[in-house]
Subunit: 378 residues, 2 copies
């Protein structure tokens, strides 16, 4: 369990990359999608179900876990892998994004952030050093630096201030991480710079000079149009070192994933497959399907007869419609499962296409396939 | 899939019975516990998870299914087994109990009941003949007669009126069932008579003369003390034919099951393991455990290290406490699973003990074991 962290770039097809990440808890084939296990659980799903969708790594949220049950508590119970009974790799975010989106922020300065817990109103501090400490207590295979994530649109002065602060926090995060000497574990830096390409490039250059095990592009999927996001990805990704994994944080729809892989991204996380599953939406090769719609009430067809996952083949749309209308928990469970399985199938398809040098064809065929469902893919 | 319904009494130990039921969808070893799949789903659990707890038969609720999605809809989709993807036996109740407990009853007369749907206020009729028709549309392996179920306490005049009406409905149910000629499917009569032993005996005698494939004891677990329920079971069970299965409806706690098997009952259903699981309570060999209690917050022990089911062995009490406090769906899923697995383990233990002629010892040891947990077994 102490294989050093490594990334191998196995094949490229245009800007799209096929790789493999090695972590202390196992290997991850890239491009990879990481289901989100916010509070030490992918909502509603047992670890066995998550694994059976094809997921090889999950994401845990530092912000939620530091507040409840607490990082020291999880460490005392053997770390996050043991706590949530997930034996494969875990990436944790730094907590910064949720501090800024969920809590009542009290102070943000050079040192870090002070905020009120959304659970009990307690004042909590988070600094680059504390974020690293928490992620070490959790036992994350891949930790993320603390950064400041702005909402877009924002002005250039504000974007520069946050980008430069994030760079200084990156340096402190790296020092703190190296001070803990967790052999084989990795720390990723996060590119900031809002929607300003030149600031993104500056951030990427400075971070690369610090030599992280991997690089994330943060501060996207925060309200900007898809074209803006893709433009930034397209300009930023090639400025990151080819021999390190690239992670686009909090993204996205199936179409976002396809387009971001086409622009050189290796890793993703997003709540969409599970959150939308809880709200009655299925993602399939035929596009997104809103099961609450009455047109499905008598439809005996499964969501996707070609899926490799039994949940997409075994239950009729009529049954899933019934579960959604009756507000039955099993509807959320099955649709979250179907969605995660589809995301993994999409990633596996992209990996195979890159290996075969046919990524462009795969991308076109996949997008064409989405046209046949209830509503177009998001 | 058309084996005729049959029951074999394999062994007795005192009044406790070890038997086997044969249905068109498979065999059920008795004493048996049936998880409740109210709205065509055991709440929160996939059919695979339900099977893995050891369940060999589930119960469906006619009342809920007739209102949503409708019996004709389910029939058009291939019946309830196909609809909910449960290939093993299904018993359906007649709908009477829920009509009287959930809906706004508009009229109850010789013909049947008219009620307002709790979903949309629509006026709906249910007669003995319609209850049989619905259960045939659902494709239940075992159907139940329509009966009138009183709340206790009730006066003797009221108890007699409801008991006699239930007998006349039993006859009409049987005629309707035989008219449909579903080879191999079974219809059970239901003994009523409130807490009046002589009326219970009269009901049992009259029903036995009608020759049902099995007999239920209904109208219990509706608010009376356990001692009253057990007294009625003790007096009623031996007046039912030994060569037919005996089903105690809507019961109960682990202790209820143990005591009712000791008095000659073969089959049970109850929402308790799943409902209490959704509310943070675990049933184990150590008794019932309230996971919401802060004493579990740092407890690394699993719920039951001796359980045959991984869910009871794999997760710490601290993790389950966390899921319950964080109101995470997975808490409900895991505790429902653990509880159903414990109920099945308890039934399997009773079956083995009866086979070995050691039921009395098993009962005493099981009750003693419950003293060691958070709170005594209910």
């Amino acid at each position: 369990m102490t294989a050093p962290f490594a990334f191998a770039l196995l094949k490229t097809d245009g800007a799209a990359r096929r790789g493999e990440i090695v972590t202390p808890h196992g290997r991850v084939q890239t491009p990879a999608f990481m289901p989100v296990g916010t509070q030490a659980t992918v909502k509603g799903l047992t670890p066995d179900i998550v694994r059976a969708t094809g997921a090889a790594i999950v994401l845990g949220n530092t912000y939620h876990l530091m507040l409840r049950p607490g990082a020291e508590r999880i460490a005392a119970l053997g770390g996050l892998h043991a706590f949530m009974h997930w034996p494969l790799p875990i990436l944790t975010d730094s907590g910064g994004f949720q501090v800024m989106s969920l809590s009542q922020l009290r102070k943000l300065d050079e040192n870090g952030v002070v905020f009120r817990s959304h659970l009990d109103g307690a004042m909590v501090e988070l600094s680059p050093e504390r974020a690293i400490e928490i992620q070490a207590l959790l036992g994350a295979d891949i930790a993320m630096q603390l950064d400041e994530c702005l909402r877009l649109p924002a002005g250039p002065t504000e974007i520069r201030r946050a980008m430069e602060l994030s760079l200084r926090w990156a340096e402190r995060s790296k020092r703190a991480f190296e001070g803990r000497a967790r052999a084989g574990y990795a720390l990723f830096g996060i590119v900031q710079g809002g929607d300003d390409i030149s600031m993104r490039c500056e951030s990427a250059r400075e971070l690369t000079a610090m030599d992280f095990e991997g690089y994330a592009i943060g501060g996207l999927a925060v309200g900007e149009p898809q074209a803006v996001m893709l433009k930034i990805v397209e300009e930023t990704a090639p400025r990151l070192p080819a021999e390190r994994p690239r992670y686009l944080m909090g993204v996205g729809t199936p179409h976002d994933l396809l387009e971001a892989v086409a622009r050189g991204i290796d890793m993703f996380d997003c709540v969409l497959p599970t959150r939308n599953g809880r709200h009655g939406m299925a993602f399939t090769r035929h596009g997104a399907i809103n099961l609450a719609n009455a047109r499905h009430a008598a439809d005996p067809r499964p969501l996707d007869e070609q899926s490799a996952h039994p949940a997409a083949r075994s239950y009729s749309r009529a049954y899933l419609h019934h579960l959604v209308k009756a507000n039955e928990m099993l509807g959320a469970v099955l649709l979250s499962t179907v969605n995660l399985a589809y995301y993994q199938e999409l990633m596996a398809g992209m990996r195979a296409a890159i290996e075969a040098g046919r990524f462009g064809d795969f991308r076109a065929a996949t997008i064409a396939g989405w046209g046949r469902a209830d509503i177009p893919a998001l």
